[in-house]
Symmetry: C2
Subunit: 448 residues, 2 copies
């Protein structure tokens, strides 16, 4: 067979070489650690799922055009999950009765979308999901925002680099219904245009408004919603606001969340923005989007919000939740923009690995014993089994960045001793086996 | 919508509730840690792959009948990978030129097979893969066997509970060709029958032999191969063994590996068995299978071996490797058989989590501050935002198994102090904020 197959993965998907895996693990470990600090528990679900539960909660376009579907098996149509939320709902519906509320869960599922790959968007990707369910107070909102702030600041990100813009869909409802008197059936159109406004030219946005709404006051109102980041300034545009508006759940929630944020230590990272509404229909209350504040392109990294109707396709139980799904590719792009990943992350770190240089094959049994002593103490070691000359082995160890090499020859084996070499100072001495761990710790503590 | 969807995942696949995830993470973390102690680097590849690379290396049955196939996208047929080895080959072929040998890689890929689910076998599963490539000496074999022993003994497994049975395909070749004088084209049949012998009744095995081979000496020879676990005993069956046999690569390799094992500290876990040959065609030298030695059912948990032709469909480079893939479900069954998993593993461990009981909503800003202090020190905490009466909150903390509760009311907030309660001794005292971390560490160290 002389024709060779391609060495590349399929379109839109990435191999994870060890260098990529180190970046992935670094990011994932940090996020998981923070989720655990907030007492969230990890879960996951199969990658393949019955297509119906996605059809019931997600757009038809996403399910039938932008997904990978498995050829029919046993009469079922299976989908490679494009998001995990319907599975979260399925699992929570199953165990909800026996669980204390609130339920705090996180996951880093692998997800699939059949769409054109682009910067930050692949056909296979990880999305870190955090959700709190069964906690109706706005402290759930605050906790979710605190987690996001901790996620990003733990990498060293600052409030100049990212902002969480928050809003409330019930508040937008109240503006539309009470202040702008928009007919009910037109409100979803307002959400749709606000969600897409970021990606539109100003003129396109204008044209869309004029084509869709007759009332000049509605058009002006939508433009203000899009552009205002200050609640008082927004409301100053309206004369004679009725008390019904101030008493509305949306206004009350927004005011209270704003106060909670001010009282917490995350206020510098959070701003109100009446233009943030989120595209997905299932959000009902608080919504938010996290933006990269970079000069050249302010862009959304990810977002989330509160949903009230999560379990309905699986259960009659009503449960409200709030959460987000953060694509790891977008996060990585953000971190790289601000140099927030350690420089040598891709490279393997051999500085704490012990290299064992062997002078003759006959010492192998003794080397096995020594390597066992090291690994029992959770110390990694690499054995050179080629029994080449010592100079070669030491220069190999040096190239890797090893700090400590053990040199084992027939003399060492006979005397049950070990020659240990500090690769930085180039000092070496011969020690008893029993001293090995202590000597290693001593050299490493001096070097770090 | 009143009809509800099923709360179960699709057939043959499992949800990972937090209790399942804790078991998975416990096992996976231990295996990864050991792989890292041997300086293996982690990799992964997409779950979807072009079907051709599996067709080229795997059986037609596995690819076309026992796999999940994605509906055609852009003219390509995609498969949900049933194993990772062809992807390992693809990735190694791509970077081999620039990498120092040997290449030590590990992965815990999620894999898919469309077959009848049964004990230890699911349609979606994890399989821990460890491979060393580009090291032709038998020290590679020894290292792989050492890793397996460490994997299992790290959970507490003993040599009464598992054994690694090893053999060498070149050695079996030499027996067949030189001692039994089996015609070349019949040798693959011998491999096939030896591999299936375990699952056959004695009489069925006999009948198959008589139907397939005419020579009584061949039939007797195959029966000895199947049943013998001692090299000398096996060879004692043959008269006048020619020196050609003793000089064969297969015999030499087997003798040398046996000696290396004897010289190492894993000899009690390893036994020769001439009946172990492995089913897959791509093994060329050493092969091994790990057996659960349980009285009622000695059964293979997993296996592996050396392959010489791994890269051929991607590259002209020749590289030999040895490795194994261990299904995590079978491993978990083995560990459960011998009670080798910690008893409370499924339950969340709240013993090191600080519970913050809050007496009034007005203290929220102070509570935010304190929870930040804790998390900055990598201490997990859970805040009760319901502001119910203290007794309720303390009994909730007790139910969870919390050791330390902080009680925060308006008095504490005003004085910038904290009431800390040891839930075991029931002692409580009010301390300064600055003392918090030290007091927590003191209580925890007393309790552990």
């Amino acid at each position: 067979m002389s024709k060779k197959f391609s060495r590349n993965p399929i379109k839109g998907m990435d191999d994870y070489f060890p260098s990529d895996m180190r970046v992935f693990n670094y990011i994932n470990d940090k996020l998981r650690n923070i989720a655990e600090l907030y007492c969230y528990e990890e879960y996951d679900a199969p990658i393949l799922e019955a297509i119906e539960i996605f059809e019931a909660k997600t757009s038809d376009e996403l399910v039938n055009e932008q997904s990978f579907i498995v050829e029919k098996k046993e009469g079922e149509r299976l989908i490679l999950r494009p998001e995990i939320t319907p599975q979260l709902a399925r699992m929570v519906a199953k165990i909800s009765q026996e669980k204390k509320k609130p339920i705090r869960w996180y996951s880093n599922p692998r997800l699939y979308r059949y769409e054109q790959p682009q910067r930050g968007r692949k056909r296979e990707f990880y999305q870190f999901n955090v959700d709190i369910l069964g906690e109706d107070t706005l402290y759930a909102e605050l906790e979710i925002l605190q987690i996001i702030v901790d996620f990003l600041t733990d990498f060293g990100a600052t409030s100049d680099q990212f902002q969480i813009y928050f809003n409330n869909r019930r508040f937008v409802d109240a503006i539309c219904e009470i202040l702008l008197e928009v007919p009910k059936q037109k409100i979803s159109q307002i959400y749709s245009i606000l969600d897409k406004a970021d990606k539109m030219e100003e003129s396109e946005f204008e044209k869309y408004l004029i084509d869709s709404f007759e009332s000049e006051s509605i058009i002006q109102g939508i433009k203000k919603l899009k552009d205002t980041n200050d609640l008082d300034e927004l409301l100053a545009n309206f004369d004679d606001i009725p008390s019904e508006f101030y008493e509305s759940k949306g206004y009350q929630e927004l005011k209270k969340l704003t106060r909670l944020i001010e009282d917490s230590e995350i206020s510098e990272y959070c701003s109100f923005s009446s233009g943030v509404v989120r595209g997905l229909d299932y959000y009902t209350g608080t919504v938010f989007e996290v933006y990269d504040m970079g000069d050249e392109n302010i862009r959304a990294i990810f977002g989330g919000g509160r949903y009230d109707d999560l379990l309905s396709i699986f259960s009659d139980e009503e449960m409200s939740g709030i959460g987000f799904g953060m694509g790891l590719l977008m996060l990585e792009l953000f971190l790289r923009t601000y140099n927030l990943l350690p420089e040598d992350l891709e490279e393997p770190d051999y500085s704490k690995i012990i290299y064992i240089a062997t002078l003759d094959e006959e010492v192998a049994p003794y080397v096995f014993k020594i390597s066992n002593i090291l690994r029992d103490q959770n110390i990694s070691c690499l054995i050179d089994y080629r029994f080449e000359n010592l100079g070669n082995q030491l220069s190999k160890a040096n190239d890797l960045g090893v700090m400590i090499t053990l040199i084992i020859g027939p003399k060492e084996m006979k005397e049950k001793r070990i020659t240990i070499k500090n690769m930085v100072s180039e000092e070496q001495k011969t020690i008893e086996t029993e001293e090995l761990i202590q000597q290693i710790n001593q050299i490493l503590s001096k070097l770090s």
